[in-house]
């Protein structure tokens, strides 16, 4: 049963790390907008021209 001396603290530290990560994300405002981010991933406005794989392939082909 000596193994418990290591395993229990390890379990607590891992769980605690998750808790700290959550508290950080809460403080950093990660949950302030639950609608916007899912749309932001579809926004291509930040890309350079011809930088998507499809466009790059087209350029190569021509």
């Amino acid at each position: 049963m000596e193994v418990l001396i290591y395993l229990i603290p390890v379990a607590l530290v891992l769980g605690g790390a998750g808790l700290v990560a959550f508290l950080w994300s809460l403080r950093a405002g990660q949950y302030d907008d639950m609608e916007g981010p899912k749309w932001r991933i579809l926004d291509d406005g930040d890309l350079q021209e011809n930088s998507t794989p499809v466009e790059a392939a087209k350029r190569k082909a021509s």
Binding site: M1, L4, I8, A11, L12, G15, G16, G18, L19, F22, L23, L26, R27, Y31, D32, D33, M34, E35, G36, W39, R40, L42, D43, G45
Partner: protein
């Protein structure tokens, strides 16, 4: 007259790294594309460091370098992109940080972490108890559980402890009192068991209880926050600011919170008056419909009192700000409102009523268990353990979730029907309504004046009238311009203040304005008034032809007739209480086929009537919007305001409905009735659970394992049952969605 400079300094705060920061409410964001458009557009501006739109709250947060730019180009750019934006007054924005929500969420996270880790240890102990765990290992596990649980109970439990303490201090009993007793006893017992190296400890029960209850508490908070943030956006977009006249004679647009008594503000033609005050210079007619319900314009001049929320029609007024002076309408309304609010707080929520029944029963059961076992010859320690286990297993876990879970689901349904809740318990109170009292002006009718369909003009004349109306800022003219959809004003149109507009078309003089201005006879006016008792009249004249009278007024809301009919069919008693004159009210009541109506009422009269109905045992729903309705909104059992209502009324109402249609009132009643049905079911489930669990606990069969299973099982069942509301309410309220 150019728009006044705006005092931006009042809205700007500084960020930690020295940049200027401003939050704006933005109107017109409908989808993600608007979000990109606004952010890109602003980022192109020189000096703007960060622009981020919050798509859930429709707010924009901008940071900029104060040396390079100022807020004016930012707001101009938004205007150019087609969005109406108005900065938040930092003094008034309370929900921005949402401190309460974050506190609950942190407590929830901590209790979740603790519950999982303690459960890990508890399951080891339970399986060990069934096989071959040795004394040392079990004690070790219990001590670690205690180490995790004690700080958690202090940290996560303080939300309940605080509220229980407040309740006891004011000698009331709420749900948090039995919760606090249960959690503290479970923790205390477990510490004692741990010290005496007993077989069972209830740390997992105590912490899991906190976790489930905090979930319920957060749901409750989330619902109210949504409404509040929406209401703040609305208040901000209404631009409740005033053009303050400074010492040098120039005007500056300042938020209302920066005005002091004795300041002078300028109100131009067609603007809403945003302060209470006395007219220093200028004469005009004001539209008081939002304040008193009176639809006819009232002439005012120097020295007269005007109220916030009234509309200035044609003159330019300089108003000296007064505090709510004694004897004014606002003073009276505030006094009535205070009294009505006190009466309101006497209402006891279903959940608290349940806990008032529940707590004595459970605590008596625990006490009887203790006495019973001691009389049967058991030592007092094991008897106490059994008695406390009765309290632990009956701790109102399911009861704590039963109501909030339904409220959250119901508020989502309300939102789909365009109704926002101010108070969570409004659902229960709406469900018991049997009498509905409507205000007329602005509630049954639209808040903005519009042109009647029976105007008697040809399409050509109508277009001409509309184009003429564009040149005037008088609210009645604006209503005509809106109704005709006119785009282009006539080139040589001249506005004669207080009279009307005139122009030359191909050598023919056309006039639009007051009946006297167009030479309308008294007889013709009287005749028209008989036909449209609820309207004001604008005259239109071409050349030497006889003038036409155009009835302009506040006409019925869309769906008002159908909604009232449906409400009557559903068995509700309908009544109209209005501050307007009898002719207009009778006209509206006839249109809606409502027999019971009263006109010319003062705020106190409305309250008296509502109290009379309440005394007859009726449950009254008040629907109203004006300042004069605010006290009766608070006096009624439950109240709803349209979104166009004055601020005081919106704050006094339990719910606010959006849009021009009256149909949401009907949907709100339907949903709340179904929601109450589900709430009652949930309470019944909790009671049945206790009926099964308590005998086991009394007999001493409840181990921590049984407690954990029973607790999580009952919580999940009531939550799932609450979600079921979406299905039963979603299908049958379809017809009202189309309306």
């Amino acid at each position: 007259m150019s728009a006044p400079e705006r005092d931006w300094a009042a809205f700007v705060t500084n960020t930690d790294d020295g940049k200027a920061h401003m939050d704006l409410a933005v109107d017109g964001i409908t989808c993600a594309a608007c979000m990109y458009e606004i952010e890109r557009g602003l980022q192109k501006l020189d000096g703007v460091e960060k622009a981020r739109v919050n798509l859930s709250s429709h707010r924009l947060s901008v940071d900029w370098d104060e040396e390079k730019t100022n807020p004016s180009p930012i707001v101009d750019m938004l205007q150019k992109l087609g969005y109406k934006a108005y900065p938040f007054d930092p003094a008034q924005v309370k929900s921005r940080g949402d401190a309460v929500g974050k506190e609950i969420l942190r407590a929830l996270a901590v209790s979740g972490f603790a519950a999982m880790n303690i459960m890990l240890l508890s399951i080891s102990v339970w399986s060990g108890n069934a096989s071959d765990i040795d004394h040392e290992t079990r004690a070790f596990f219990h001590w670690i559980s205690a180490l995790i649980a004690l700080p958690t109970v202090v940290y996560s439990g303080r939300i309940f402890f605080r509220s229980a303490y407040m309740a006891i201090k004011t000698s009331r009993l709420n749900m948090d009192v039995p919760i606090t007793i249960g959690v503290l006893l479970a923790t205390g017992l477990s510490v004692w068991q741990t010290i005496s190296e007993a077989e069972h400890a209830y740390f997992d029960s105590a912490v899991m209880l906190l976790f489930f209850l905090l979930v319920g508490r957060y749901c409750d908070h989330l619902m109210r926050r949504k409404t509040r943030s929406f209401a703040e956006n609305l208040a901000t977009l209404k631009a409740e600011s005033a053009a303050k006249i400074q010492d040098d004679g120039s005007t500056l647009d300042v938020p209302l919170s920066k005005l002091a008594v004795g300041d002078r503000v300028l109100v131009r033609a067609g603007e809403r008056i945003s302060v209470d005050g006395r007219i220093a210079t200028g004469t005009s007619e004001v539209d008081q419909s939002l304040v008193t319900g009176e639809t006819l314009l009232q002439a005012v001049g120097e020295g007269d009192l005007v109220y916030a929320g009234t509309m200035n029609t044609y003159g330019v007024l300089e108003i000296e700000v007064t505090a709510a002076a004694k004897g004014t309408l606002l003073d009276e309304v505030n006094k009535l409102l205070e009294t009505a609010m006190e009466g309101r707080s006497k209402y006891v929520h279903i959940a608290d009523r349940a806990s008032q029944l529940y707590a004595p029963v459970v605590h008596a059961a625990a006490l009887l268990t203790l006495i019973g076992w001691i009389m049967l010859g058991m030592a007092w320690q094991p008897a106490l353990v059994i008695a406390i286990s009765v309290l632990i297993i009956t701790c109102p876990c399911a009861l704590g979730l039963a109501i909030p879970a339904v409220q959250v689901v119901a508020s989502g349904l309300f939102f789909n029907e365009r109704v926002l809740l101010n108070a969570g318990d409004a659902i229960e109170r709406l469900a018991s309504v049997d009498t509905i009292v409507f205000d007329k002006t602005g509630t049954l009718t639209l808040p903005e004046a519009s042109l009647s369909q029976e105007h008697g003009l040809s399409a050509e004349q109508l277009e001409l009238a509309g184009r003429l109306a564009l040149s005037s800022s008088h609210p009645l003219s604006q209503a005509i311009a809106r109704a005709t959809g006119a785009q282009q004003s006539l080139p040589d149109a001249k506005e004669l203040a207080g009279k009307g507009v005139e122009a030359q078309i191909d050598g023919v003089q056309v006039k639009l304005g007051s009946p006297a201005f167009c030479g309308v006879s008294e007889e013709q006016l009287a005749q028209a008034k008989e036909q449209h008792p609820d309207a004001s009249f604008v005259a239109f004249q071409m050349g030497d032809e006889a003038a036409h009278l155009l009835p302009v007024g506040q006409f019925m809301r869309e769906g008002a007739v159908e909604t009232i009919q449906k409400l009557k069919d559903a068995g509700f008693a309908i009544e109209i209480l209005s501050g307007d004159h009898a002719g207009a009210v009778k006209h509206a009541a006839d249109l809606l086929d409502v027999e019971s109506w009263k006109a010319g009422l003062k705020p106190q009269d409305k309250i008296d009537r509502i109290e009379e109905l309440k005394a007859q045992g009726k449950k009254v729903l008040m629907v109203g919007d004006g300042l004069n309705d605010a006290p009766s909104l608070a006096a009624a059992n439950v109240s709803i305001s349209p979104v166009s209502a004055v601020h005081v009324s919106q704050a006094a109402a339990d719910a606010v409905f959006l849009g021009d249609s009256l149909a949401p009132v009907m949907s709100a009643l339907i949903i709340s009735q179904k929601a109450r049905w589900v709430m009652n079911q949930n309470l019944a489930i909790s009671v049945i659970y206790n009926l099964i669990a308590v005998p086991f606990a009394v007999l001493g069969f409840v181990t921590p394992l049984v407690a954990a299973l029973a607790m999580s099982g009952s919580s999940i069942i009531v939550t799932l049952n609450a979600v079921r509301l979406r299905m039963i309410a979603g299908t049958s309220s379809q017809p009202s969605q189309e309306a």
